[in-house]
Symmetry: C2
Subunit: 341 residues, 2 copies
DNA sequence: TTTTAGCACTCGTTAACCTAGAGTGCTAAC
DNA sequence: GTTAGCACTCTAGGTTAACGAGTGCTAAAA
């Protein structure tokens, strides 16, 4: 069924009002607050039609209407105009992302905090799985007779360090040499690309220190096969009236604590760029069938490397959140691309 | 007023029962469940006395009694016997701490998670402020023409890295040399000990790269003047009936998000070793006057460097938590001491 | 044909009221 | 000093009634 102009206006009014108030919207409220030039009775008729076609729902017979998932979907796809963010604000946000550390992981984590702060919803940021990273440099630093600091510099811009103990004593010069040789052998390879022949070579040639370093590479890179992710602003959900019920809030929170669940949510690694909105039941996880998720990928150069997202009740301020997610994802991409250049 | 044997038994029974059930305890319950050999009426008389002396409270006239802060204090100081942890379990916990990374910060953070998991309360771990750390080694690694990775190795066992951009191009050899010279000049100093004469020297001698490195030291060390801290198991508080009220839970959670507050709580850096219990109103912050905190310091060798702690309702399982906090603090101290040796 | 005023009806919310039950303190007997 | 008995208090939970917001329908108006 096609919606005529007036039905659309009524739907728009219901959604706007419900997003604002979290209360079912009645015909009189609409007539009073949004001057559509018709009486409540007319609006009631339109509402009956909208309900029949599934855009709105009546929680109980003597209440107003609330939007259904289908209603929100229509709103997001057709009605909504992303809230414009004034240039000054845009620059400020860009700068706040930029101001962060040059270290990729810190930068991303801080961006997640910013996202939560700006939207007032729960922010999630998925970080590229380290396993995809390419080794750029290995550096060994002598700490004392028994301990050596191993530093792995990965592309793009991730640094991992780990202290190992060795039996043999090495001099600074020896370690410098070993660093150079290892770097030369392993540079440009990702973990997956290290052949067993190469690994045997290294173990033979460098003895226990070689094995230890390969262990680290193995642990640091292979262990973190799943994406890492950062969660911020989790307390914010208590501001939402729909999470007054402790059980519900607890359910969402404990879901978010679980890693796999999060990658389920944002995990649609599709190459699609731009902001994506997933509404209520469209979510893969039943636990958040009453939530919506607004996500966007971010990238280095042309390559998508991660996702940022915001989770809130289906009654979310889509227009505002949409703009912010878009802006932050773009800023992050731009700055990351700049950093690794 | 001195408590006679029977009053103590009654108090003990009330506290045990209330910790278990979270419901006010009546005289009949005690007579039935803990066989003190007297009738409810006698217990009522004792309870009236205990109330008058402030060890227990009657929430309303027709309810049972609940322990007051004073009651819990007496319980913790006099009655409680820390739950013994069987040797096997002790070893298992020790190993689980030990199994963590050799990197101090990761180790401490993982220990915090373990603490939350074992106690089922909110765990907080305060990490030594980096500013106290002593510089051990500086290493510069050439990433590409424009970017250099600066690694600061601090005592005890903390590694910081940061990528800087430079105008001048350096060769690997030059950087190695600069690393050595800087290390020589700054080794053994904490941030506070770096005199302005020394700083000028370095800026003169090493130009822009020297300034950049000093900036990093300044930022990384001085910025983190406040202790860092890790929070874990925050959702657990919803398991406690006293936090069914959303407002209360939100209050606690948002307090814990604030850094200063946390150091207020655990901040009593007293050199005292061993477990400390802070009950209800004894807490410095009014927001957690209905919570108790069980903390213990941990150390490297003889030197106290941080605090671990658990926060829960005053109706906390003190005996159990006490043992766990003690064990984990001891394990952590031992393992840290071993690592930096 | 579309819109609207009017009205009867539904049902959730709130307040008032009532009851059952748990627990007490007091008194008097043991 | 202890205990049985009893009157009393207060909360939790359930029921009822009034209220109000909102609806759908009908019939009149545009």
């Amino acid at each position: 069924m096609l919606l005529n102009e007036r039905k659309i206006s009524v739907l728009h009014a219901i959604i706007d009002d419900y997003i604002r108030s979290a209360e079912p919207v009645g015909s009189r409220t609409i007539a009073r607050r949004y001057n559509l030039g018709v009486s409540p009775a007319t609006i009631r008729n339109e509402m009956a039609d909208l309900e029949e076609t599934g855009y709105i729902i009546q929680p109980h017979i003597s209440a107003g209407r609330i939007p259904s998932d289908k209603g929100y979907r229509f709103y997001v796809d057709v009605l909504m105009e992303p809230s414009p963010i004034p240039a000054i604000k845009r620059q400020e946000i860009y700068r706040r992302v930029q101001k962060q550390s040059q270290e990729i992981e810190v930068l991303i984590q801080e961006t997640s905090k910013l996202l939560a702060l700006l939207t007032n919803y729960v922010a999630i940021v998925v970080v590229p799985p380290v396993v995809k990273c390419v080794l750029k440099h290995i550096q060994l630093v002598l700490i004392d007779e028994l301990r050596i600091l191993v530093i792995l510099v990965l592309y793009p811009g991730i640094v991992q360090n780990r202290i190992i103990r060795v039996q043999t004593r090495y001099t600074v010069e020896e370690l410098t040499l070993i660093s150079q040789q290892l770097t030369q052998k392993l540079q440009g390879l990702s973990y997956g690309e290290m052949r067993s022949g190469l690994i045997k070579d290294i173990k033979r040639e460098f003895g226990d220190i070689g094995s230890a370093i390969l262990d680290i590479i193995h642990n640091e890179l292979a262990d973190s096969k799943q994406e890492q992710y950062y969660l911020n602003g989790a307390i914010q959900i208590f501001e939402q009236p729909e999470f007054r019920d402790i059980e519900r809030a607890k359910g969402l929170l404990s879901l978010l604590e679980k890693g796999e669940a999060v990658s389920d949510l944002l995990g649609d690694w599709s190459k699609i760029n731009g902001v994506k909105v997933i509404i209520g039941q469209e979510n893969p996880r039943a636990e958040i069938h009453e939530c919506s998720v607004v996500t966007s990928n971010y990238s280095i150069g042309q390559e998508v490397i991660g996702t940022i997202g915001v989770i809130g009740p289906t009654r979310m301020e889509y227009a505002r959140v949409y703009s912010i997610v878009e802006l932050i994802a773009d800023s992050l991409s731009e700055i990351l691309t700049e950093i690794v250049k």
